[in-house]
Structure formats: C-alpha cells, structure tokens
C-alpha cells in the first residue's frame, strides 16, 4: 500500500463532504474551474461547477487540461487533516511556505475563491481525516 493510498481515499470523499456543506457550496456559487488537487503522489482532475464538484478522476488523464494545481506531500495532508493540526501544518499557505505543497498554474481562480478552497480541502479534518 502506497503512502498516498490513505490520502487518496480521503480525497475521493471530497465530493460527498462538499455536498453536505450547503453553505460552502453556496459560497462557491460563482466558481467554475477545472483544477488538479491532491498529493504529490496522486492528484485528481477536479471539475467544479457553481461550487459543486461535478467530476473528479485520478490524474493523469491524457490531454486533460487544468487551470491550476495544489499538491501537498502525503505527510502534509495527514498533518493538515488532524482535528487540531500542529503549528505550520494548519493552512494551505503555511504548507506552501514550508515547501510541503506546491501551487502552480494560473492561480487566479484559486485566489478569487481562496476561502472556498481552504474550507473545501479542510473538510476531512472534521470528518475523521486520514489515519
């Protein structure tokens, strides 16, 4: 079992977790984007339309385009999803600052909807996170 398997299992819960969070879906109401999210070992092509994840498939899909990517190490996701994460492991941008995550591409949609992405990717924290 790869280190990333547990992380991937959590990522695959994201669409369901998001659907349960009506307020978050509402805040993303103006967001339409195709992006790459995941770990440095396994990322996902994520299609978001009007704040909902409408498609999510493991990357790579040949010639599938994405606007931006946010990828963190499996260790970083495990730390990030702890119910009370340790200092420096508690925010998407603390992970990029410490070099445990990369944010690449045209990040305008990410910045425009920054709190949406922070809250989306933190949903597993309150749902048990990664083992």
């Amino acid at each position: 079992m790869k280190k990333s398997d547990a992380i991937s299992a959590v990522f695959e819960q994201l669409p369901t977790l998001l659907e349960r969070d009506v307020a978050l879906v509402q805040r993303g109401g103006f967001l339409d984007v195709d992006c790459l999210l995941g770990s440095t070992e396994q990322s996902y092509h994520v299609a978001i339309r009007a704040g909902r994840i409408t498609d999510m498939v493991p990357a790579p899909v040949l010639m599938r385009s994405s606007i931006f990517s946010y990828r963190a190490t499996p260790e970083a996701w495990t730390a990030f999803w702890q119910p009370m994460p340790k200092a420096g492991w508690h925010d998407l941008l603390s992970l990029t600052k410490r070099g445990e995550a990369t944010l690449e591409g045209d990040i305008k949609p990410f910045m425009t909807h920054l709190q949406f992405f922070k809250d989306l990717l933190a949903l597993p924290r309150n749902a048990g996170g990664a083992a």
Partner: protein
Amino acid sequence: MTAYIEPMVGRYVHVDIGGTMHRIYFEEAGQGIPLVCLHTAGSDNRQWRYLLADEEFTKHYRIIAFDLPWHGKSNPPANWDGSEYQLTTKRYTETIRAFCKALDLDKPVVMGCSIGGRIVLNLAIDHASEFRALIGLEAADFQAPWYDTAWLNRADIHGGEVCAALVSGLVAPQSPAEARMETLWAYKQGGPGVFKGDLYFYRVDGDLRGRTGAIDTTTCPLYLLTGEYDFSCSPEDTVRTASGIAGAEVTVMEALGHFPMSENPAQFRRYIAPVLETIKQKQSS
C-alpha cells in the same frame, strides 16, 4: 438601566502628521500609565476591544487604541487625491509620535501587533527615550514573504474576500469561532488597497535587519511575544530578532496566531498580564 455598556469611549483628535492635518479616531479606557495600542495591517483598533474592556488592566493603564489614517474610522486626509496609499517607515513613525504628542502622553508604553510590532522595533531603535516600554506582538526585523501582495487590490477580485482569506490561516485553530470571524471581518471591511499599502512598509520599506542591534533596552524595556501558529511572523523570526538585542524579553505564546488580542483574548491575557504587571512594578519602584 440594565444594559451592559462597554467602558471604552471613542473620540476624534486632529493631528498634524508631516504637515497635513488628519482626523484620527481613537478609543480609550482607564487611567494611569498611557498604553498606546497599534492594530495590524489592513485592520483597525477594534482588535483591542477586549483589552480596553479589561478592568484589571484599566485600573492602572490608560489604554488608547487609534485607527491609522485610511483605517477604521480615521479617513484619509482631506487633501488625498486618490493616489495609491503606501505606508512607509518614516510616515508610520511620524504618525505614532504625532498622535502621542497630540494627546500629550507622558512616556507612553506602545504595544503594536504585526506591522505594529515591526514599527515598535523602529521606535526602539530611534526614539527609545520617548517611551516607558515597548511591546511587539508578532514582531521581527524581517520575515520571508509567503504571497504576492498584488492579489490584494485588483478590480477583478473582491479585495475584502481575498484579504480575509489570506490571513485566515494566521488565526490559530484553537481560537474561538466567534473571535476568528470578528478578526476576519475587519479585513473584509478594509478600504481598497489599504492592506496592500500597509504591506509596503512591511515588505519593502521596513526591513530592519542589521539595525535592531542598536536597541538599548536599558533606556526602554522591550518585550516581544509571538503566537506559535503565526507562520507569517514565526516564533523563529522573533527569536532570531531578539537574539541580537541585549535584554529583549521573548515569549512564544501557545495556541495563538498572528492576532492574539482579537483572535483569542482570554489566551492572550495569560501572556500579556505578566508583562503589564512588570511594567507597572517598574513604574512604582
């Protein structure tokens, strides 16, 4: 009347800053040693409301928190022509000294957070004899940038949303949800380009590396306190800064981030109470 009315009172003082009159809003409570509080970049004096309402502190301190020009209820100066706002080290220092002079404060204590913490270091370098003590929260001579400030003010991205979202990660996860939301609300309310303009001081003009060694803490005691969850001005940044200043006292505050006084007032109180007590004791000895 049974309603709870908070003890602080807000007023406006007209202050000459660099030859231009400014109408500055401030709130105050208490009596005794003047304690001037400086808010973080892109926010306003509401961050200090818990301290201003703390009767244990206001028994011995006249606590005063003002809004920088362009912030909170302090408008831009009347002659502002709409050009880009940029805070500089010189202007920030002038503003604090002019405000203290306008209120005729006798050797105040100044406590600042973030940009306020950075400018406290500059006050310690250049004007230590004017102050009774200086307290820097989330203060360092320099810290590594972690985002491009160009995102903070552009017509195609909501400034309030992006400013608040950027700094949201600087609030410790232990902080109460209510205080977290209130702290971020001020960022959502800032004027366009104001947070970015403050960061001109922080990122470009206010690099104090190589200068803080000149601080004489025998002239003016210096206290530096930084929250463990602050990854903008990290505890390492503060400890590094303090290591080059003889006599500077450093505290790393657990379960706090970049906005200790507003994000978790009860937790912050545990750390600031002993500092204020020490300053008070020195005053009476």
